[in-house]
């Protein structure tokens, strides 16, 4: 068997015959890595995950998880994956332990095995003291850990995490990631995750794919992606109203210029040396630079480079929005 745990080929999902949420996506995830899936809202992240975890059927294309075809062998896929959804799905009225055992029943795990595993998991995520408390008393971080335990009860080979730290404060996010790392080490899984927190993706992911408008725009390690920007980013504004992109482009070492509503985003090598030349070039033509900022590329820059800076005021599904709102509210409890 290949060492690729997830493979997709031309994976496509079209909703209502004309809304293409995922558009011929092909990528692969290697055994044991943490694969991050980044992209703006509505880019197709959740749709892709939902196809991989077999709750949506692809319109076109193929994908396999651990060699099982997601469309034809969906039950086999479900048996070997774990899912930690964006939402808090644990039942408020049940206790922590009851929730984990409920999940184990969905996998048809015999009760004696399930109990043993549940206790082990609760210990790993340090919820043993709360196993008999109703979930309604849990904090956001505790709920998130409980979701982890539920997602791991069937000893999955691949764990899917959809926005695992959405809405949590920095301390809880850090702690949550420590638990995830611990569990990954303990069970030797492959992780497929989406997140909006780019610094998290940078620190955690072995490889990252950026998806936008249903297409994968780039895949690579965080280092590769930062390198691919080919230098530093200079952001500047001028007093005058005219477009000076062409002028800036003539300066040596400038690789690319984008005019984003009067603010110029310049990609340049040796940024700290090039910046003075740009100012000089502009001044000579009578323009006044009002603002200048030099940044070394971070994953934020990579992300903005590939997905553009403009906000996405796309119409988001009410369902997705509401789910996110509920998640945020519960996280802050």
């Amino acid at each position: 068997m290949s060492e690729n745990v997830i493979e997709t080929e031309g994976l496509t999902k079209v909703f209502n015959k004309h809304l293409t949420a995922v558009d011929h996506v092909s990528f692969s995830v290697k055994q044991g890595e943490i694969f991050g899936f980044l992209g703006p809202n509505g880019a197709g992240k959740t749709t892709t995950i939902n196809m991989l975890i077999t709750i949506l059927k692809p319109t076109e294309g193929k994908a396999s998880v651990l060699g099982f075809d997601i469309a034809k062998q969906n039950v086999d896929v479900r048996n070997v994956i774990g899912v930690v959804p964006q939402e808090y799905t644990a039942d408020e009225d049940l206790t922590g332990l009851e929730n984990v055992l409920l999940c184990s029943d969905l996998y048809g795990i015999p009760r004696n095995v399930a109990k043993e595993r549940a206790m082990e998991l609760l210990k790993l995520i340090e919820l043993t003291d709360f196993e008999d408390k109703k979930v309604e008393t849990f904090s956001g971080g505790m709920r998130r850990r409980l979701e982890l335990a539920c997602g791991l009860i069937n000893r999955p080979k691949v764990l899917f995490l959809d926005e695992p730290t959405l809405g949590l404060d920095v301390q809880t996010r850090t702690a949550t990631w420590n638990y995830i790392r611990k569990l990954k080490k303990e069970y030797g899984m492959t992780l497929f995750m989406t997140t909006h927190y780019l610094e998290e993706a940078d620190a955690l992911c072995d490889r990252i794919a950026i998806i936008d408008h249903g297409k994968i725009v780039v895949v690579g390690t965080p280092e590769e992606l930062k390198h691919s920007l080919g230098g530093d980013i200079i952001t500047l504004s001028i007093k005058e109203n005219s477009d000076v992109s062409e002028l800036i482009r003539t300066v040596e070492h400038v690789k690319d210029v984008k005019n984003e509503d009067g603010s110029y985003r310049i990609k340049a090598e040796y940024g700290e040396v090039t910046a003075p030349f740009i100012i000089e070039a502009l001044r000579r033509k009578g323009y006044t630079v009002t603002k200048l900022m030099l940044t070394e590329p971070t994953l934020n820059e990579v992300y903005l480079e590939y997905t553009g800076k403009s906000m996405r005021d796309t119409e988001e599904s009410r369902e997705a929005f509401r789910a996110q709102r509920i998640t945020m509210r519960r996280a802050r409890q």
């Binding site: 068997m1 709750i55 479900r78 009225d93 055992l101 795990i109 789910a323």
Partner: protein, 301 residues
């Protein structure tokens, strides 16, 4: 590759777990549990005792016009028993029993079944909104088990409530039919099981795609009371206007209620009872199949 993946191959694994999840939400929440007990009692008190239709025909409160020559005490007594007899005859011919309370209390059972099953539609919407549905769908649990667990939990709840109603009705003075046999109670549970299977499948099928909680609420408000009053639960069908009779005669709640009455308070007409069971049984079967097929389709997008 997978060394210790204990996975049961049974198709129904998880069915009981999911059903029990629904039931736990109910019996582990004392307030909810108490309310489900109080609700039928309250309705029974309001509709059965307040709407005391039998009292309308009670002649003792009516002042007879003075006749000339005045009636002798003996004639008066005869007249009284004549009107008294007339009252029970009217009741008997209209309601098939002399006691409206018994008539209505039994109708309450179908009413409660209708209310309880409607909530199964709502719980589907909640599970979708809170993400539990997707979570369950990502596990190997059978899609049918997800739907059936809702149907089953609503059914079990209704059966529990029916038991409460019967107990309370007896305490309030339910008149059993002449050939009542304690085993008939099992028949009552049988017919409730059938109607609840049918109704909750119906409500789940209506709501399976819905993402907003307002939809099931609107559906409930729209069809709940009409469905109830266009049945024989509170009032005999043959006194209704023709168009309403037409609805009441196809309304499965009418047949449910009739079956329960035949079993508990009427002189059992076995032919009618058999027809009631057949009608509700087919209703349940058809709707359960439709419900499961539709849900299956929408859950496997």
């Amino acid at each position: 590759m997978s060394e210790t993946n204990h996975v049961s191959k049974s198709k129904v694994h998880g069915l009981w777990a999911l059903t029990n999840r629904e039931l736990k939400k109910w019996y582990k929440a004392p307030v909810v549990f108490l309310l489900t007990i109080i609700q039928p009692v309250l309705w029974m008190g309001l509709l059965g005792k307040a709407m005391n239709i039998g009292a309308i025909f009670n002649t003792s409160s009516i002042q007879l016009p003075s006749l000339n020559p005045p009636l002798t005490p003996q004639q008066l007594l005869q007249l009284g028993s004549f009107f008294g007899g007339l009252q029970s005859q009217i009741m008997q011919s209209a309601f098939n029993t002399t006691d409206y309370f018994s008539f209505m209390a039994v109708g309450m059972i179908a009413f409660t079944a209708l209310f309880t099953t409607m909530f199964s539609g709502m719980s589907v919407v909640w599970d979708r909104r809170l993400g539990f549905l997707n979570k369950a769908l990502s596990t190997p649990v059978s899609r049918a088990a997800i739907i059936l667990s809702k149907v089953l939990s609503a059914t079990l709840r209704s059966m529990f409530q029916a038991a409460i109603i019967i107990v309370v009705a007896i305490a309030f003075g339910l008149h059993f039919g002449a050939n009542f046999n304690p085993l008939n109670i099992l028949g009552v549970f049988g017919i409730i099981f059938l109607i609840c299977m049918g109704l909750s499948s119906l409500f789940i099928a209506i709501n399976i795609r819905s993402t907003r909680i307002e939809t099931p609420m609107a559906v409930m408000n729209l069809i709940n009371l009409p469905l109830m009053f266009a049945s024989n639960a509170f009032f005999p069908i043959n006194f209704m206007p023709g168009w309403l009779q037409a609805i009441a005669n196809v309304n499965p709640l009418s047949y449910t209620t009739d079956a329960v009455r035949q079993l508990l308070i009427f002189n059992t007409d076995y032919a009618k009872l058999a027809f009631d069971f057949a009608y509700v049984g087919i209703f349940a079967l058809v709707l359960t199949v439709i419900g499961i097929v539709l849900s299956w389709r929408f859950l496997n997008k």
